[in-house]
Symmetry: D2
């Protein structure tokens, strides 16, 4: 029998994240038959709470799989073979969306910036002017592998002035900062409960505007009778309607607990503690002489802090040292950012400023230990605390 690897002390990742205790308890509720009236009522109620969290006119859709399912389903459902799609790629996730767009479209267009930059709204305006037939514009709001935030509100204004629908991947920003589908004129807006809402992975949340529904409904290629169908679930939230297939009962119970917490604490309060944690974290990182990945702090994410790896430090070894010596787990880069940066998540239960202290100090200490060169961990810790002190 292999020895079990012990759990870390702290999971400060960009998702899956530590869940709120109330969410873990809700997972343990009795699992009801999905057609039981009590569960049908629960499912409707959860959808209405998600609608409140979205501050949206339409009732959202819950898909029964983590957000990759939602993103793939959006590609398949929203794009028809007649469509020109414009994808805005400022990071690994935005870039990667191509694979779920291009096969469904007539033509795939892209605006692309370095992965530590963000999209310039003017470039979108220019492209839309040049190619007025663009039917769908897609963007990743928070490109998690870079920890950067695209200006979706400005882009949304531009897209909304035309006929294209606007698709936003807000998986790892929704719930951790001010971003709501109608504010940013999103037609399809994908959120991930397993990020800033503090749920386990297994579900996705979609807000769809009337324009978004209309686009999918007139798409002859939109999946039906498939795990990839969004249309099948349009009315599934209604108590009297059947589910296309069995929803993930335990995860729905967990989502309700997470939404209850979010609405009870108050979105503004939740966002503020995400922002403060990230700000304290960035201050600590800089005080230790380390470099943020984002080209400007103006668009550094309040839910993820990405730090450029110092010369000569191997990412895998660094994260392993942090875990083994200090018990702290943070996230790796992905794809093009792999071995170029590490990422500290500030999401849900870990979006509390004292966690920035842990992350900064463990990171600095591990780098010092590995490089043999000093890293002023004390300055990092002091800078974190100074931000907290100044803000509270």
């Amino acid at each position: 029998m292999t020895t079990r690897i012990p759990d870390p002390v702290f999971t400060l990742t960009t998702g899956p994240v530590n869940c709120y205790p109330e969410v873990l308890q809700a997972l343990g509720k009795p699992v009801l038959y999905d057609q039981d009236p009590a569960f049908l009522q629960t499912y409707e109620r959860v959808n209405l709470k998600a609608q409140a969290a979205f501050a949206s006119a339409n009732v959202p859709v819950i898909l029964q799989g983590e957000p990759v399912l939602a993103l793939e389903a959006v590609g398949a459902s929203a794009l028809s073979k007649e469509d020109v799609v414009l994808n805005l790629a400022s990071g690994v996730y935005g870039d990667g969306y191509r694979s779920w767009l291009e096969p469904h479209a007539r033509e795939y267009l892209e605006i692309r910036v370095p992965f530590n930059e963000v999209i310039d709204p003017a470039s979108v305006a220019a492209m839309l002017a040049a190619r007025p037939e663009i039917a769908v514009v897609t963007v990743c709001h928070h490109d998690t592998p870079s920890g950067t935030i695209n200006p979706v509100k400005e882009i949304g204004e531009i897209v909304a002035s035309g006929k294209a629908i606007f698709v936003i991947d807000a998986v790892s920003s929704f719930g951790g900062m001010e971003i709501m589908p109608e504010d940013v004129k999103a037609d399809i807006f994908v959120a991930g409960p397993n990020k800033c809402l503090g749920c386990p992975p297994g579900l996705s949340l979609l807000a769809v505007s009337d324009k978004g529904w209309a686009k999918m409904k007139r798409n002859p290629n939109a999946p039906r009778g498939s795990i990839l169908s969004i249309l099948d679930w349009e009315d599934a939230w209604k108590r009297e309607k059947p589910f296309p297939f069995t929803p993930s009962v335990a995860e729905i119970n967990a989502l309700e607990a997470a939404l209850d917490l979010y609405l009870a604490e108050g979105p503004g309060t939740v966002w503020a503690r995400h922002a403060l944690t990230a700000r304290a974290c960035r201050a600590g990182i800089k005080a230790m002489g380390l470099e943020l990945w984002a080209a400007s702090e103006d668009f550094a994410s309040p839910t993820t802090t990405a730090i450029r790896l110092p010369e000569g430090i191997d990412e895998t070894a660094l994260r392993q040292t942090m875990r083994e010596v200090y018990g702290v787990v943070i996230s790796a880069g992905r794809g093009a950012t792999f071995n170029r940066l590490v990422r500290i998540g500030h999401m849900g239960p870990t979006a509390r400023p004292i966690y920035a202290l842990i992350a900064v100090t463990a990171l600095g200490s591990a780098i010092a230990r590995m490089s043999g060169k000093p890293c002023d961990v004390g300055a990092g810790a002091a800078a974190v605390m100074a931000v907290i002190d100044s803000m509270t």
Copy 2:
């Protein structure tokens, strides 16, 4: 605020089922980062335990969605546009599989029997002899909406003597009776943790033979980089391999608890209590003068008892009465069996003979109440107990 509908006292359905308490507790474990070494180890260990439960030479695949995902993925992955597929339809689920087979195949063939009968292996042999180019044979082992068990062992022998691969949907039978992929010569075998293993819905388990893997690998249309891909997950169980996307961490923890229970109790012991519960249930049903749906008890499922609705009884009203008056929830028919039968599940934690007493008595009492005609509930209860007494 709407009044909350109270939970029922007993959920005796055919899935989602009541979970084992240990499974509910495991859902509440801390949610780790999916790339955390401790979770990677857990994921590998769970796969190896699933392999033990399958008594299989190959390590199984876990897909991150309830079994409809697996069944759709098998259709997309196993069938190429060159293939002739033979589907064996003895019930609503077997019949419905057509929609995930036909679009991927060159030609769709079917053997079809009334939905209270099962497939005759000789008919399969005849069809394979007539159409030797058949590349894939598919069957639903336990067609849950009918509560009937197809003779897959005999069919498997026949298919294995040719070149076709054999796909079995054992979603609602695996774990509740003796059915293991290699015993029945399955090449792709789909099991559902949310049935007889007593897990919540959200995952599926696949056993794939070498022949099955080869078929999918040489299929140019097999999905890759998609929620529908099985191939992407082939090696994902290995600790050192990345996941195609984030697995459902909490559900994996639950599955481990369920497999631990299954292996510790002993599959034979688990199957025996399913069989006894079903036998007691059928005895009770017959003693009250009600009629089983299955044309012969020889192929009535040990995990579901389907009962033909008496003349003049509305299914929805019947199930509602059972829930409201006695607190007992059972399953509806589906599709072609809707409003023609009701179904009592004997799955996982409810596969204990005393539950047959509850189901039989509540059903009989509700029918008497609704029809105004006597239904000998006492005889039903006595018959249930007599079977338990005679077997223990």
Copy 3:
């Protein structure tokens, strides 16, 4: 390693009882420091909810141990060496209370009836008239080992007309029937969360009238600085007051969940389902030709049904058979009722009429199996269902 004995399927005992799922989940809440402001607030809130459940003018006391602690503490706190105490003994528990009364009193008096009878209020009036110096009258409301209910309201009127304080052990009746401290003029009233409220054992609840507090305060022998002190806890519910010692944090969280359930469902609704379950149970028992222990159904408890053991049946063997063959656990007699009766609990989550079916049928079947003589289990089941049908 010894093989683990599997859990039973149903625990239909008179306490400890199965807990409500919500209570089990609440036990898993994070355990806070007892002096943490959030826990101090919780403790106060739980006391206020208990006060609401008691419909009492005073805030109750929670003692940190199951009700035997409370009963012993009441003996030590309420009785001084000057006192004459009158104990009303209609069962094993009432009788046993002597051991915690006599050592603290000047004189111990008793009214005693056979353990299948209840106290006649007139006998109390006569005794109080004869011995006007009686300072304390004690009674067990529901003598669980007999399943009988004493007429405490009538007795309370009589006691209240004099100077004595009235102590009621309502451990296994409170929460399952209409019994509230001020209605029955109790001065000290002991309730047990681990009975009809559906909590685990580990706490007790006391309602104390002004007269009750005054009696304890003027008692020079009342314990202080001891686990047996009630006085130490008088103000401990107030957020700003320290605890005498660390309360059982997890059990307090569980109690809150139980009180929430009780108040939300509505005490009247809760009592009604206890009464219906007991009534259905008694009907089933009688229909099988078995005999109730209580001399009259008029005072048979709605929270426990005690059944006289048939000639020649050994209690231990009977309960063992019920558990092994049918998975059903019921309670044994205790002391003088041991091996003379068995008891079925209708408490909290099991106070739902369908449980009567299980208990009756399993009991009848086991007796038939052991005695070799027929026991009309069918008639028992039918009688249970007939009561349910007639009442709903």
Copy 4:
């Protein structure tokens, strides 16, 4: 409705402590009837695991209340009116034990040292030589309100050479450092599951030597039939023996999980992480120019670090600041140490060195904030990390 005070982020107290997740999950197990064979087996098994943890020849006793119950019960059970008792008081808890000793003894003797010192074994030898009739010697091993460790091994050798029994309160040290009853020649040894074992408060554990049992058995005043009886529970661990009263079922399940964790991780490993955490914490405290309470680090506890309050800082305000600004809860002083020190617990799940960083930094920052004078938080953090780095 009053607003709920949010939970703190970190509870770094000296008890109640944060529980291990596995312990919280175990609390949610189904609650069985205490006489159920499965629970009787569990109770026996838990006692045998506790015996393994104690490395003791005798099976321990579990009392159904937090350790104040055990300590009071020991006073009542071990001391007779013939006895001279010697109590060794080096702190608030040792001192306070007088109230549970003196009333039961013929004569109460005391050796007393300042509350930041520990007992000199030579003084015990001298007292025993002077008063050879001393029958009982009592000591608090870890006087939690001071965070100091008495040299019980040396004292035990001295006591064991005479006839007196040796009683040790190891409530807040057992499980967090090398202290086992037979090693230190304890005759009665009280441990608290709610400290270093990471359980909720509600139980106590006693190891009793043959000499200890003999002393209690020949004591005519030893309680029987009382919550304060230890003798009643002597054989209660045996599966075939009845319980004196209902044990706290859920807490017993939790204790089993805690003992499983302790034995699986290995006591030596557990002690080492407690020691390292405390050492790192002390280094951080000193680096910030704060003063440890203990007169010498030689006897500073590995499970609690007590820090002298700087001039002019109010303890309550300090702890409140730490909680409100940083989310960190630590313990207050008690009695004579109240408002003179604060205490950081390193117990069970929080005995991991990274927690020292949090506690030190939050403490230093709060002091700086309140005093308006600088406190070198950076130096504190760096010192903590340096200790961790040097030891791992």
